[in-house]
Symmetry: C2
Subunit: 324 residues, 2 copies
């Protein structure tokens, strides 16, 4: 009987990106029953945006016949603060900017009082991986998202680390290169994400092409992306292969320091760039083990996300709601 009740409970996952917002209805097994997408960037005013989100939700709740069975809503959003439910100074959102938006409260009001949990996208991804994915059963791991930037979600003793202010886990902005490091969007230099994000990989390609005469299929391209570098590596292009070696080495060096902090069972990689795992895994492992204290050498796993990429953002956000 208990199982019956559990199986008939659902959660909503909402992933807010700069351009689009994905949302879906998820069951206890991590199946997405129904999903939809709306634009994020056509709204200047958050009230109108929240109304549109609520309307879209109503539709997929009806479609999935889950009326009255929704346990809560989980939201992954840039600069989302778990403690307050606010989205703070999210300059990448057209309705965000230099202000504090009580997003969880607004959404709860528009959805008949459903409970809403909110955090940033990387923390949501960590909870998703722990609930449905590669980190099931793990109580200590670090999620690293390798996308346009480098995000992170840190899990200690089965719980996401939010820190004093709700914003812990900004490992993409730890220092990878101390002297003459690349300038980061955040205003600092040498940040991990300037080297090891999708944009960082493209930047490495452009720098190396400028600095050498080495032949490479990448030379013929106008606007190099990390996907181009990946395709070139698959075709055996030497420079492309070396770019992934360089990227993996920096990741591994930084991972060793992360391990010294929280002694995780594993580091879980997710995001577009993590697709290049056949080129990243070995250099990451080699550099990480070379920089670990003896007691951790060859003991820390590097694993790749097991969530279907099209569902991952929704699943991650939805997993937060099970904890409400």
């Amino acid at each position: 009987m208990d199982t019956d009740i559990l199986e008939k409970t659902y959660v909503v996952g909402i992933d807010i990106g700069g351009q689009t917002t994905k949302m879906g209805i998820v069951d206890t097994r991590g199946q997405v029953l129904s999903q939809t997408v709306i634009r994020t960037d056509t709204y200047d005013d958050v009230s109108l945006y929240v109304e549109e989100v609520a309307a879209a939700l109503e539709k997929i709740i009806r479609e999935s016949e889950s009326e009255g069975k929704i346990r809560g809503i989980g939201v992954g959003a840039p600069n989302g603060n778990y403690y307050t439910g606010n989205i703070e100074n999210a300059v990448n959102l057209s309705w965000g900017g230099q202000k504090t938006i009580p997003f969880a409260e607004l959404l709860s009001q528009k959805t008949g009082g459903l409970k809403v949990a909110l955090t940033n996208d990387a923390n949501a991804a960590a909870v998703g991986e722990m609930t449905y994915g590669a980190a099931r059963g793990m109580k200590n791991f670090i999620m690293i998202t390798l996308g346009t930037g480098v995000g992170s979600g840190i899990v200690v003793n089965g719980e996401v680390v939010y820190g004093h202010d709700g914003f812990a886990g900004e490992l993409g902005h730890t220092c990878a290169v101390r002297h003459n490091g690349r300038v980061c969007n955040c205003g600092k230099t040498g940040c991990l994400e300037t080297y090891c994000s999708a944009t960082g990989v493209a930047r490495t390609a452009r720098e190396w092409l400028d600095m050498s005469d080495e032949p490479s299929v990448l030379r013929s391209l106008d606007n190099i992306t990390s996907k181009d570098v990946y395709e070139a590596a698959k075709d055996g292009d030497r420079m492309a292969l070396k770019i992934f070696e360089f990227t993996g080495k920096i990741l591994g060096e930084c991972f060793a320091d992360f391990v010294a902090f929280s002694a995780p069972e594993a580091i879980v990689l997710f995001g577009g760039l993590a697709r290049a795992k056949e080129y990243l895994y070995e250099p990451i492992m080699t550099a990480m083990n070379a920089n670990l204290l003896h007691m951790w050498r060859n003991k820390i796993k590097i694993v790749f996300s097991q969530l279907k990429e099209s569902d991952a953002a929704i699943l991650g956000a939805s997993a937060l709601a099970w904890e409400l």
Copy 2:
């Protein structure tokens, strides 16, 4: 009545160092009622050592009239594993070496079944500071011990981070200098503790004296210690002052990365070198803030331990026992 019962409960704190072992009886207010010291390094066999510890304890329990009122024993020991109660591969202990010693179990047997909690010294210091010292009321902070080495204890959400294996928080062995860094006792290079421990400061002094002709009172000394550098700084010696600036800068740079991990309210400094706070505070703050993401700039406190140094080790270890 409840207060009465509480005030009549005591805990034992034991701090195991390579040379000596300090132990004391502590009340709920952090007063050390009675304490004693025995040698650690005259025993090759852990059984004999544990018997000696138990005998010394019996004596101070009698002295403080706390028979039958001991709630438990907390132990701070190198390579102490909180999860298992074992001391693992502690090469600095004459009876430690390449083996796993079930220390908590052994001590419990010899003390009539008292409960024993064990962790490493830096974690014990963090619990002590949270219970009796500068971190009272804080739920998120990082303890950094600046002694012969650099140790750390990380507190997240009111609990020490032990990680998957019990050994989390080795921030002294994160990388401070990536290229041509100093060789560390751990076998790696560039570790924070090769620069910012007491021995690291002395090493900086020797290096700088070798590399330049700059006049300094330190030139006249045979075997420079960090204390010599501190005394010279107090006398206005320019090189000594610059050594602390250099040390504080490296600490601040590394602290910025630690903040990106766990977003602590404060970083608490403890240990012999922390006595040089008048020379370390400003350079730490400047370098930390220059390397923090904007949202954390000027918001993270650097505070110094408030525990009396002669009692601190015992207090830290004893605080563990309140949680038993």
